[in-house]
C-alpha cells in the first residue's frame, strides 16, 4: 500500500519534471526575443543586454532552468510586461472562473454520461442505444470551438434562450460577495437567487461546448463497461437470491462498471481545468484560458511558461488523487489477496 503510494508519487514527480523541461525548452527555441518585446523596436543594445541580465537570460542554460523551476515552486512565476502585474497575481485573479467552469462542466458531463449509458444498457433498448451511440459519434468528431460557435448561433442568436459571449454575468451586473469566488456558490450563500440563475445561464453553453468531447468518450466507456459487467455471473447470482432487476443492477453492476472509469474521469477533470483556452476565448470567459490566449498573441512568455507547467502540475495532481482514491475504495487494491489455501 505505502509502496503503491511511493511509486505513484515518484511517477508524478517525473511527469512534472518532464513537463517543465519541455516548457522550458519550447520557450527557448521559439522565435522572438523577450527583451526586444519588453523594450520595443527602438531599444539600444545596452538596454537590451540590461533586460536580458535582469531576466537571467545571459546565464548558462542549466542555471536558467534551475531558476525557472525553483521560482515556480516558490510562487515566483515572473512578471507580465503586457499587463503590468505579476503572473501569480494574474493567475489567482483568473483561476476561480476557470475552476467554476471546469467543475460545472465536469458534473454536467459525468451526469449526462452516466444517465445515458444507463438508459442504453439497462434492459434491452436497441433504439435508445443507437441514438446514444450516434450522439457520441457526433460529439467525438466535432471540434469544441466549432461546436461553441454553433451553440451560440442557435441558443443565443436565433432562439435568444441563453446569453451570448459576455463572460460569467451580464455586462454591468455586480458580482456576488466573494467567499469561494465560485459565483454559483457565492450567490447562493448571499441569497442572491437572481445572480445564481444568471450565472447558471451564462455557464451552460461554455460548459456544454467544453464537455461534449469528453462526454462522448465517457458515455462509450461507461456503456461498454456496463454491458460487460451486467453479463457477469455475480449479477445472475444476485438475481437468483431474489433481488429485483434494478436492485441487482444498482448494487452490483454499477459499482463494478464505474470503478475502472475513475482514471478516465480524472483525465477529463484535468483536461477541463487546463485545456479550456479556446472555449474561454469564444465565450469571453474571464479565466486562465483567455489570459493565456492573449499572452500567446502578445508573446508574453512569462504567462505561457507558467501556464504550461501549471497545467502539467494540475494534471498530475488530479491523477495522483485518482490513484489514491482507488486504494481507498477498491478492496482489491486496498487489501492484499490471500493465496489459495
Amino acid at each position: 500500500m505505502s509502496r503503491v503510494v511511493a511509486y505513484r508519487l515518484l511517477g508524478s514527480l517525473a511527469a512534472i519534471f518532464g513537463a517543465s523541461l519541455l516548457a522550458f525548452l519550447i520557450m527557448r527555441v521559439l522565435p522572438g526575443d523577450p527583451a526586444r518585446i519588453i523594450l520595443g523596436p527602438l531599444a539600444t543594445p545596452k538596454a537590451l543586454a540590461e533586460v536580458n541580465h535582469q531576466l537571467g537570460l545571459d546565464q548558462p542554460i542549466f542555471a536558467q532552468y534551475w531558476h525557472y523551476i525553483s521560482d515556480f515552486f516558490t510562487g515566483n512565476w515572473g512578471y507580465s510586461y503586457t499587463l503590468n502585474a505579476s503572473v501569480s497575481s494574474l493567475f489567482v485573479e483568473r483561476f476561480p472562473a476557470t475552476i467554476e467552469l471546469a467543475l460545472f462542466s465536469f458534473v454536467l458531463t459525468m451526469g449526462a454520461a452516466v444517465i445515458l449509458a444507463l438508459l442504453s444498457t439497462y434492459r434491452h433498448r436497441p433504439v435508445t442505444d443507437a441514438i446514444v451511440r450516434g450522439a457520441s459519434y457526433i460529439g467525438f468528431g466535432t471540434p469544441p470551438f466549432f461546436l461553441a460557435l454553433l451553440l451560440l448561433i442557435i441558443f443565443f442568436k436565433s432562439l435568444h434562450w441563453l446569453p451570448g459571449p459576455e463572460g460569467r454575468l451580464q455586462v454591468g451586473a455586480s458580482e456576488p460577495p466573494a467567499v469561494t469566488h465560485l459565483f454559483l456558490i457565492d450567490s447562493l450563500l448571499a441569497g442572491q437567487l437572481n445572480t445564481f440563475w444568471e450565472s447558471l445561464r451564462h455557464m451552460l453553453l461554455p460548459a456544454i461546448a467544453l464537455g461534449i468531447g469528453s462526454f462522448s468518450f465517457m458515455v462509450r466507456l461507461l456503456r461498454a463497461n456496463l454491458l460487460e459487467v451486467s453479463r457477469e455471473p455475480f449479477i445472475t447470482v444476485a438475481r437468483g437470491k431474489g433481488l429485483p432487476r434494478w436492485t441487482a443492477f444498482r448494487r452490483h453492476a454499477l459499482p463494478n462498471a464505474f470503478l475502472p472509469t475513475l482514471t478516465s474521469a480524472g483525465l477529463v477533470l484535468g483536461e477541463f481545468l487546463a485545456g479550456s483556452v479556446l472555449i474561454e476565448r469564444v465565450f469571453d470567459w474571464p479565466g486562465i484560458g483567455s489570459l493565456v490566449f492573449e499572452a500567446i498573441v502578445k508573446q508574453d512568455f512569462a504567462i505561457v511558461q507558467a501556464f504550461i507547467l501549471l497545467s502539467a502540475v494540475i494534471f498530475v495532481l488530479v491523477n495522483l488523487m485518482v490513484d489514491l482514491l482507488y486504494a481507498v475504495i477498491d478492496p482489491r487494491v486496498r487489501i492484499p489477496a490471500v493465496t489459495s489455501a
Binding site: 434492459r123 434491452h124 455471473p233 455475480f234 447470482v237 438475481r239 459499482p255 482489491r332 490471500v338 489455501a341
Partner: protein
C-alpha cells in the same frame, strides 16, 4: 450416500412440462431448450448431463426465469409449490428465487461481487426475503451460515472480500447464500467444475450433507458422469436441447439405452482400459440449434441410426421402458429393441 426417496409422496418438489426456450437473433432462432419435461421429487438429486451447448445452463436459467433478452421462455409449465411459476411476473418471481429455488453457479471466481464483502452478499440473500430483519440478527445468521459451510472464524471473515478467499472457499460462500433460506429446490450448474480435484470432493461432500440437512432437492448440472454416479439418485441426459434419456443412476451406468448415453459413457476414462489406446470420442459435432434436422437430432452422429431413414425423418417420441436396472424414459425409435438386447 443414497437418499431414500419417499415413494408415497405424490407431489413432486418441481415439475417441468414442455419447457421451451429460444434465443431470437436477426438471422436465426436458436432453440436452446426444446420441449423438456421432468419431475423432481422432494429431496431427490437429479443429475443433468450433456456436452457443452446442449442447453443445460439455459434449462437452469429458464426454470429460475433468468433468461435475458434476446432469449425468452417460449412455452411450458414450471410447477413449484402448487403454482406455475412460468406465469409469474419478474417481480413476483423475486419472492420465489432464493427462497424456494436457489442457484449455485459454475465459477466461484466470478459468482461473487468483487467489491462487496462476503457478509454483505450473504446478508443480501437473507434480507431480500425478510425485509424487516435487523442488521445484527442478519449478521448473526450470516456467520452461522459460514460456519455451516465449514469456514472457520466466520464472524471475522464476514468482513472480508472475495479475493481474500480461495476458489473452494468462495464456492462454499456461494453455497451458503443458496441454502440461506432453506429452499426446496437447489439448482447447481457445474458447481465443482472450476475447482481442483481435492476441493471438488470436499465441496461435493459439503453439498451432500447440507441438502440432506435442509431437505433440499437438487438439480445438479454437470458433464462429469463420475460426479453423477457419486451424488445423484437419477439422471437426465441432455442432447440438443432435449432430455433424451431419464432414469435412475443405476440404469444409466448399467444399461444406457439411448445411443448417445452409451457413447457419453464410453468417453469416461476407465483406468483398466487406458492401455488399450486413445480415449474414444463421439464422432461429429452437436447440431446447430438454429437449424435442427427434422428427425432425431443425434441421428447424424448415431452409430445405430446413422443409416436408417426413419431416424432422419421422424423425431422419436419418449418411450417408457423397463431395463434390468429400473425404468427409464428414452427418446429413441429403438429404445425397446435396445432394452431387449441389453437384457439378453
Amino acid at each position: 450416500m443414497t437418499v431414500t426417496t419417499d415413494a408415497s409422496s405424490p407431489d413432486p418438489a418441481l415439475s417441468v412440462r414442455n419447457l421451451s426456450t429460444v434465443y431470437e437473433a436477426k438471422a436465426a432462432t436458436v432453440h436452446a431448450v426444446r420441449d423438456v419435461s421432468f419431475d423432481l421429487r422432494p429431496m431427490e438429486r437429479l443429475g443433468i448431463v450433456g456436452e457443452s451447448g446442449s442447453g443445460k445452463s439455459a434449462l437452469a436459467l429458464s426454470i429460475l426465469g433468468l433468461i435475458e433478452p434476446p432469449g425468452r421462455v417460449a412455452g411450458g409449465e414450471i410447477m413449484l409449490g402448487g403454482r406455475d411459476i412460468a406465469k409469474l411476473s419478474d417481480r413476483e418471481l423475486g419472492s420465489v428465487r432464493g427462497k424456494e429455488i436457489a442457484l449455485v453457479l459454475q465459477d466461484p471466481a466470478t459468482a461473487l461481487d468483487p467489491v462487496k464483502t462476503i457478509g454483505r452478499q450473504i446478508i443480501e440473500a437473507i434480507a431480500a426475503h425478510e425485509p424487516g430483519l435487523k442488521r445484527s440478527a442478519a449478521r448473526r445468521r450470516a456467520a452461522e451460515l459460514l460456519g455451516d459451510v465449514e469456514i472457520s472464524h466466520a464472524e471475522q471473515r464476514l468482513d472480508e472480500y472475495p479475493h481474500q478467499f480461495s476458489g473452494g472457499m468462495r464456492q462454499r460462500v456461494v453455497i451458503a447464500m443458496a441454502i440461506a433460506l432453506n429452499p426446496s429446490v437447489l439448482i447447481a450448474d457445474e458447481p465443482t467444475t472450476a475447482l481442483d480435484v481435492t476441493t471438488q470432493a470436499q465441496v461435493l461432500a459439503l453439498l451432500d450433507r447440507l441438502v440432506d440437512e435442509h431437505r433440499t432437492a437438487v438439480i445438479l448440472i454437470t458433464h462429469n458422469l463420475g460426479i453423477v454416479s457419486e451424488f445423484c439418485d437419477s439422471v437426465a441426459v441432455m442432447y440438443a436441447g432435449r432430455l433424451v434419456e431419464t432414469s435412475g443412476v443405476d440404469h444409466i451406468f448399467e444399461s444406457p439405452t439411448h445411443p448417445y448415453s452409451e457413447a457419453l459413457l464410453a468417453c469416461v476414462p476407465n483406468p483398466e482400459k487406458l492401455a488399450q489406446g486413445p480415449l474414444p470420442a463421439i464422432a461429429g459435432y452437436p447440431p446447430d440449434l438454429s437449424s435442427l434436422p427434422s428427425g432425431c437430432a443425434f441421428a447424424p452422429r448415431c452409430p445405430v441410426g446413422r443409416d436408417i431413414p426413419q431416424c432422419h425423418q421422424e423425431a422419436p417420441q419418449p418411450h417408457a421402458v423397463s431395463g434390468p436396472a429400473g425404468p427409464a424414459v428414452v427418446e429413441c425409435h429403438f429404445a425397446e429393441a435396445r432394452i431387449r438386447e441389453a437384457s439378453r
